[in-house]
Amino acid sequence: MTTPFQKNFKKLCMYLGKNNKALYGALTIALSKGILRPTFTMMDKKQDKDSRIYTAFREGLTGGVAFVSYLATDAVVEKLASKLAKKTNHLNELPKMKSTLSLITVSLTALFIIPAICNAATKPLLDVFTGKNKKQLPKAGSAYVTPQGAKNVNFGNYKNINVYHFNNFYNNSGMKIGGV
């Protein structure tokens, strides 16, 4: 061992070899995919921007949800397998039980839970981030114009009287327009 690079390389590999937690792999995958996948999607200029934004946002969200689900699944499998092994007197075969149960839960999570969470959350969250859900409310007491161009105003007890007819025949100066 001569150079600092060699020393640090050995230190890092020793650490990974002794503390081989699946969490590191999951975290690395989630983080790298969560950053790189949306970046590459946004670089795909052959697709319209709205589709790219939705896809990129969904990919990032999927990465985050998958990571949290992975942690949750891992904890659930640990507890469930231990309880099941105790009750059925298979404590010696606990690691085997964990591996099969883990495969089932991870597959079910990938097939149902993560897509369902993403379906429920992607569009609402995307709207919040892009500011599309801000409703443009009219100011209280003011007159506003409907899409048809009809003007709704309050006349005392007569609320929301459609004054389209009056506007058609009288302009703001009070002059009559048209022949009726």
Partner: protein, 222 residues
Amino acid sequence: MLDKVANLLLNPQFVNFANNTKYTVTTESFFKATGRPAAIMMDKKVDLDTRKYAATKEGLYQTLCVLIYLTMIPLVFQKYGFKFAQKILKGDKDFPAFKDANEFLNYARLSKMDKEHRQNHKLLSKISDSLKANDDDKLTLKEHLLNDDKPPVFPLPKGVIELSNLVGTVIGLAWIASELSNHILHPLMYALGFKSKPAVQQKDNAKTVEKMGNSEKLDMKV
């Protein structure tokens, strides 16, 4: 009821399947490649074109991921990562002179087995007869595997494999698969009929404009 569940979970074939990384990764990727695009297509809050684009992209990406994971990571990243580490850590007492990554992986797999199971295993023939943990050790690693209940473990080469896998995952799955999917995606969408080709689109637009022109002419005549 619980016994039936336990028996199912401890079924030897199922246990072997769950302990094989290739099988588990392929299974999970298959569910990702089918479940995620199906869910995207069910998300009615977005328009159909966006759903088709996102679903095709997801399915393609997961397929590429499993192909890269099964081929590129063991054949490129593990192999060359191990060779690189052999050069960097040459002569290190914690890094025995394994021939390559495969020999170390075979040794690691055998060392985890029960002594009886290990002694007749076919992988034993893939461990070289003269390989020693270090020069001071009187026994070879093969003899350790045959005689010891707990043969020596080597965290340093194991860490090298872990690091190679992590680097391979980032470069192969997050970078190369994303880049590749961008190149394949649009031709695939044309082939699946999810998108019409630009030339076809232009023709369609021209036809529409022509029709509109004709209807305007008719209006004028009327």
